[in-house]
Amino acid sequence: METTYTIWQYLFTLPVHEIPWWAEVFRSILRVVIGLAFGLGLVPIYVWLERRMLGWVQGRLGPNRVGPEGLLQPIADVIKLFMKEDIIPTNVDRGLFLIAPIIALAPVIMSITVIPWNGSKSWGAVAPGLDIGILFLLGVASIEVYGVILAGWSSNNKYSLLGGLRASSQVISYELGMGLAIIAVLLMCGTLGLQDVVRGYDLRQPHEFVAGTVLNNGQGLINVLPLSGTGYTFYMLDWSSGFWDWNVFRMFPFGLIACVVYMISMIAETNRAPFDLPEAETELVAGFHTEYSGFRFGAFFMSEYANMAIVSTICVTLFFGGWLAPLGILNQVPISWIQALTQTPDSWVPWWANLINSLISALWIILKLFTLISMFILVRASYPRLRYDMLMRFGWKGLLPVALINLVLIAISLAVQHSFRDSLGTAGAWWVGQIIAWALMLAAMLVAFVSVRKSYASRQRDIASGEIPADSPIVRHPVALALPALTSTEK
């Protein structure tokens, strides 16, 4: 039977496998526009927020003259940057110098494509059907450092080169912890698609995908709603679900550990304080972008802030439930209510119902995003910059082992759960797996504590015997400062 559709149905409402290619192209372009508008359009607001918030923390005003509360100050800055002379120093490697800011900005824009802003398969992201979303993000994150390296190298300036070197080693080091934290999430969820990660979807459990069924998938209940004639599949979270179902609280405390590791490494990945060694102005003038001016500097500036927003959004998506509300009841206006209100048949949904629900989803993700951006700013205001060896030691000897052990514990817990699922049921298997993993975690913590204590005791002996001078910086070990009562040997 041949059904005829209107052009609007082709362009907006039909499911993705029922539309011709030109409608898909139109939809893709529209999704790209939406993504870019959100990804780059919010950058001036971050800049304003950072300057005002830093001012508040430091007891001063911050920009407040241009526009209401200084909101137009970033626009004025952009205009200034574009009007400035574009200086290209004489001895730079010209080609690389010119493309370095573009290479810094491009991956940031690319990673916008997979970040979901609602659960729809047609309109949920720039590329909502991509089911290797996390891998794509890892790939893009791994090429972000090229812009900084090339800027540092092509500038033909020793400070720039040092900044670029520092950036490359720092990003390589912290990418490991970040990747392991991300892998922990995909192990817990059993999927690589970002929309599925937000829903906490477990593909390995066999489900009957019949429209109208309610699935219990470990992250709240999901209603598969039949909406024939529209392209929107709502896997609506049940009202009984909420923030306790987010990945950060999943398999407690392993999700939380992964989240903390991710959040620390995301600050290091974006070269923000206290990890802003590549542009440490007290040592390296301005680091890798010393030689840049005008709108090329503006591109670096913009890529830093957009990058900050992207890693925050990834954090929200992976750990804090993406577009989901903290309480299930705030998630969306149920379609059935709208159908009852507008006296429409079951098979038809007014277009504005989906629009409202999408806007509610977008609202939640933006709220969470701004919370994380504020965290970035407060961290910058609160902590002093690390020394370079401290940075490396923290990345390799602190974050990496923690993330690795966390990942192994998650894997053990999941394997135990998998083997007990048939005999004990999902909940019983969960407890067995978690108790084993908790026991292993406590054992690992004990081993770590004993080894730290031992090294501290031997160091104290060295000080007592005079092998290490008492005023040596080694004496002021962070553990010794943090846990003086636990680690002191003399009584």
Partner: protein, 216 residues
């Protein structure tokens, strides 16, 4: 031979031609450039082109892994070492074996000609393997769509993904093949992880060792 140019020049063929040209030209520039940094950057571009060719071959997982491992980790490491040892300027040391260059290029051209002839004469030109009948079952994404074949068991779909040549390259297909005890890949996989461990320990002990001058 195809009946018409339009039937021959499909989108995959065009994409292949574009990115094959890109791969060859970036590989040649990588070898020809005297500047090591540019050489590394051309190699990165070449890796991207090859990653897109992987996508054309439905090896989605490998394409992304190519970008993560090669472009993201290995090449950054190369650039880091180039900048650390300050080798960024073109080579200054006089070449002691000048005769090697023309010989190498000649041997390369000879090898290329031989390989092309061999491949053209012996490798049969057949279409990619396919298990799709005309009334194909929908893939897993479509199965999730209400209105599609709704009663399909999800694990059956996923097993099907792992076996079908078109979808073998998805992460699920790779996992199902790699960790399958009925296939011979599990043991080499464990051996590779062991190899990586050995490489980590080896490189740490190599680079961390102090020379006699530095100790003094």
């Amino acid at each position: 031979m195809p009946e018409s140019l339009a039937g021959f020049l499909s989108i995959p063929v065009l994409l292949f031609l574009i990115f094959a040209l890109g791969a060859v030209s970036t590989a040649v520039s990588c070898v020809l450039t005297p500047n090591p940094v540019r050489s590394a950057l051309f190699l990165v571009l070449n890796l991207f082109c090859v990653a897109i060719l992987y996508l054309l071959l439905n090896a989605y997982f490998l394409a992304v892994v190519q970008v993560i491992v090669y472009a993201g980790a290995i090449m950054v490491l190369f650039l880091f070492v180039i900048m650390l040892l300050n080798l960024g300027s073109p080579e200054r040391i006089p070449d002691q074996m000048k005769w090697q260059q023309p010989v190498a290029v000649g041997a390369g051209i000879l090898l290329a000609a031989m390989l092309t002839v061999t491949i053209a004469s012996s490798v049969p030109s057949f279409a990619p393997a396919t298990s799709l009948p005309q009334t194909a079952r929908r893939t897993t994404l479509d199965a999730r769509e209400p209105g599609a074949s709704q009663t399909m068991d999800n694990s059956a779909i996923l097993d099907d993904i792992a076996r079908r040549p078109e979808t073998m390259g998805t992460p699920y297909g790779i996992g199902k093949n790699l960790y399958n005890p009925d296939k011979p890949w599990l043991f080499p996989f464990e051996m590779v992880s062991f190899l990586l461990l050995v490489a980590v320990i080896g490189s740490v002990s190599l680079a961390g060792r102090q020379t006699s001058e530095e100790k003094a």
